[in-house]
Every structure is written in C-alpha cells, then in structure tokens.
C-alpha cells in the first residue's frame, strides 16, 4: 500500500520563517510544556512502525546475505544472492517482465489519461463527477477480485474470445485463444489489466493539475490561434509536469509490486512467461526454499522503488528552480 508521497523536508527558508514568526527558540511550543512531550505522542506509532516495518526490512537485508532454506542453519554467502538475482536467467527474465509491465502500468495509462484530460479540459463537460467516479473505480476493487474477473474475461469461453469468434464468422482470421495461457500473449494480457486499473489514477491526478492552470493561458493560446492539439502541447502538458511525475511514480511502483495479479491469474506461467520479481519473492521462499535469494529480490525491489521515487523527485524539482 505504498503511496509514494515524496515531499521535501521543510526548506531552510521555511524553517527560518517559522523560527522568526514564533520569536525564536522554544516559543513554538505551547507554554509550560516540556519539550520531551513530543516524544510521548510520537512514540507509540514509532514503536509499532519500527518493530513491524523497519526491523523486518533490516532483518530481510540480513537474510539476503545467507544461503538458507528456512529450516536448517544458513550459510553466509555475502552478496552472491544479489549477483544470482541479476544473472539467473529466470530471475533476470522476471526483472525484464517488470520493465515491460512498467510500460503497460505507467506509460500507456498516462498517455490515455492525457487524452481523457484533454477531452475534459477544453470545454465544459456535463457529468464530470460521474466520469471521474467511474474511471477511478478499477483502483478501488481488490486486485484479487480484478484477477479473478479478468481470468474469466480472457478465458477460452470468455467474452473477448466470443467477440473474436464472431469476427471470425464474418470472415476475419480466428484470433481466439486462452490469452493468459499463451506464451506470447500472457504478459501483454496481464499488462493490459494493469493499464485498465491505472488509467483512473493518472486521470484524476491530471484533472486536479489542470484545474490549477490559469485560464488566461488558455485564452492567450486561443487568441494566438492554437487548435486543440497545439493548446494541449503548449499549455496543458507543461502545466502538468508535477502531476505527471507523481502519476509515473505511483503507477511504476504498482508495476513493480504486482504480486496479487500474477499469483492469481497466471502463477508466473505459462512456463516463466509472466514471472515477476514480486512473485519470485513468494515463490522462492515458499516453493523452492531459497529464502536468502527471495530476501535479496525483496531488497532489490525496495531499492528500485526508492531510486525511482528519488529520481522522479529530482526531475520535478530540478526544473522548478
């Protein structure tokens, strides 16, 4: 449930201003209260958080340095699990699949969301709240339910194949197949489910951004004779840089963390066709007894997500200044 908020810590200017506003040292806190009381308020949250998130993370990093089946004593192997994660063909394939899924989860939904926002922003649209509510709905449904539903939709007797067989009856080639069981098509099929889920998130983010773009910019563009496309490229797109960064961050994280869908819809199959790192964390721990390797994969996922979050943050801030 990572919501990749990426705020910067209070800037020095902000801090200085706060200190000045309150007349300097100590004046910020309520009168007569010891400073330490802040710790009392923060401590309960901090303890649960440290015990059940930070500690497991460190513990996982420690596991990742061992060859361990989860039962017998492990053997220290240093960083070899990490080199294995990046050299083993199946695991390397899994990371490559994750990159393919980033295109489906992040790039395609953002492109579609831009089209939707362009359609919503140029003239007044009736029922905007309705469209927004409906388009965001796939975000809300449990991924498990999404997986079960799409398994039926892609199944040999499902609605997609019904349509394709009907088209075949009209003289087109027979394109029907069990999409999730097809070596070539399983990964794109899974990817399209991700696209379906993420469009709404990107759209909602962009819509919020568009509302902050000054109307005068649009009026100026229209006076200059810009059509819908020019107007979008010159006004809307630049105005949405921040929202685009956030949308890409959140959807890429969703692509990297896509366990439920793979576990339920394909179990990584057929063959290794839809194996992804998140699935391999589970698979290597509980099916093949490679706990150290699984931990290393988990840490790599965390590092990739953290790096991506930071890079996107840099990109946004770098151009703001």
């Amino acid at each position: 449930m990572t919501l990749a908020a990426r705020p910067k810590a209070a800037t020095t200017a902000e801090r200085r201003e706060r200190a000045r506003g309150r007349g300097g040292r100590g004046a910020g806190r309520p009168p007569g209260e010891p400073r330490r009381i802040g710790w009392l308020y923060a401590l309960p949250a901090l303890l649960v958080y440290a015990a059940f998130l930070i500690w497991p993370l460190l513990h996982g990093a420690y596991f990742s340095l061992f060859e361990w089946d989860g039962l017998s004593p492990g053997t220290w192997t240093g960083l070899s699990n990490y080199s294995k994660a990046l050299s083993d063909p199946t695991l390397r394939g899994a990371f490559l699949h994750a990159l393919v899924l980033v295109v489906f989860y992040a790039v395609v939904p953002c492109c579609i969301a831009f089209v939707l926002v362009a359609a919503m922003s140029r003239s007044k649209i009736r029922g905007l709240t309705f469209f927004r509510t409906v388009l965001f709905l796939p975000q809300v449904v449990a991924m498990v339910a999404v997986a079960v539903a799409w398994q039926w939709i892609y199944s040999p007797g499902g609605p997609i194949n019904d349509v394709l067989r009907w088209l075949h009856g009209l003289g087109l080639p027979d394109w029907s197949r069990g999409w999730l069981g097809d070596f070539t098509w399983a990964l794109p099929a899974v990817g399209l489910i991700g696209t379906w889920v993420q469009i709404g998130l990107a759209m909602v983010l962009f819509m919020a951004g568009v509302q902050k773009i000054p109307r005068e910019l649009y009026e100026a563009a229209r006076i200059d004779g810009a059509g819908p496309v020019r107007e979008f490229l010159a006004v809307t797109l630049p105005g949405l840089r921040r929202e685009l960064a956030v949308a890409l961050t959140l959807t890429t994280i969703a692509a990297m963390r896509n366990f439920d869908l793979i576990y339920l819809a394909t179990s990584g199959g057929p063959g290794d066709a839809t194996k992804v790192p998140a699935y391999e964390v589970y698979n290597r721990t509980f099916n093949t007894g490679e706990v150290g390797l699984a931990s290393a994969i988990g840490i790599i996922i965390a590092v990739l997500i953290f790096t991506f979050t930071v890079l996107i943050g840099r990109f946004v801030e770098g151009r703001d200044r």
Partner: protein
Amino acid sequence: MIGSRREAFVNYTVLVVFSAIAVLPMIGVVFQALEGTELNVSNFTDAWEQGHFADYLRNSVIVTVAVVLTATLLSIMAGYALGTMEFRGAGAVFLLFLAGLTIPTEAVVVPLYFDLRSLGLDNTLIGLILPQIAQSVAFGTFWMRAYFRSVPRALPEAARIDGASSWTTLWRVLVPGGRPAILTMVVLISMWTWNEFLLPLVIINSDEGLRTAPLGLSFFQGTHQTAYPLLMAGALIIAAPIVIVYVFLQRHFIAGMLSGAIKE
C-alpha cells in the same frame, strides 16, 4: 465558447468509450454471477456457503476495524507531535516515517513471516493486524502532520492560554476541526487494509478459519477453477464492501490519493 459542436462530440465520445472500458468488465462479472438471462441469486448463496465467505468477511472486518482504529489514533498523535511541537529528533523521526512510504510489502514479508512465526503470531489475526498498522502509520503520520501544520497557530495557543493541556487541545480543539482530513485517511487505510493480499497469504498459512476475504477468494478459486459464475459471485462478495464505501465517499478517496501524493 470556441469549442465547436464537433469537438464537444469528440470529447464526449472519448469519455464515454473509456468509461465503458472501465465498467464493462465489472458489469460482465455481475451478469456472469447472475448467469445472464434471469435474475438468479443462487450463485451468491452457493458461493456464500461453499466459500465460507461469512467467516472471511468477519475476519476482514475485524482486521480492518482494528487496523483503522489503532493506526488512526497513533497517526493523529504522532502527526500532532511532528506537526505542532518542536522536540529534539523530530526531523529524523519524520524522515524515518517518510522513508516507510516507499517500503513495499514484498521487501518485508519474508522476514515478517519468520519473525511472527518465532513469536507464535503466525496464523493469528494479531499477526496480521500489527504489520498493517505499521504500514498505515507511515502514511497516516505523514498525512496528519500535514493537517496539523496547516492549522493556524493561534488556535492551539488560545486553547493553551485557557489552560487546556496538550492532550485536551488535541482532542477538543484540533481533532474536531480535522474531521475531513481524518475521514479521508480512514477511507484510504480501510481500502488498503481490506484489499491486502500478500500479507494474509503468508501469515495465515494454515488456519483456514482466519482467512480474510481476498485470501478466501483465492482459495475458493483454487477449488472452483472454471466455475466462473460461482467465482464471479465470490469476487463481488469481497469487492462490494469497499466499492459501496467508495460510491458514497468517492470525494474522500480521490482527495486522499491526490493530496497524499502531491501535497508539500
């Protein structure tokens, strides 16, 4: 308006097409669960009984309520401290919570399994609740801190001058004013907790009676591979509670996603 009639037509077409893409699969699922032609709820009753969904929903309700109540309380307190008080180490604590927002379940689930097992907390609801509180307070603290920082200083100061303790100030003055922010946080944490799958899968690995709704659906699917009407009924049963909440509180879902992601 410059937008011509043709352009308006294109705009509405785009919106209607993508809205249809968003809901048609779900409508298909509903029809499949009702077996198409006439209204047939037997799939729901069958799924409900064969799939033990009453038990799974009860477990999910227990876990979600426990996580939401505890995480909300802890987040309000921690957010209050980090947002209004200046104490030594506050900056470091905030950064620590912030880092937690990027830690994926995938990176902690394996060690959590072994840690909880050695504590005897695997196959218990408490073993499921505690890690989810931890994930939720990272977001909650960040979220509540932003709210407490947005409150004008004069408000708590006036309360303090009237002799209220910091505890009273928090609950009598600041929390009532923060109801929208708190509701939004509650809605998001509920959704994430209800929909969580990997954690229950790993922690509730043998006690079938403790499965949560999403986990129950996955096992139901295991035993009814291609009995699609039954499966679709099961999927609707586990998705419905949060979808109903969404329809009524969609503003809060969307506002939460937006400011959670963009603020500051």
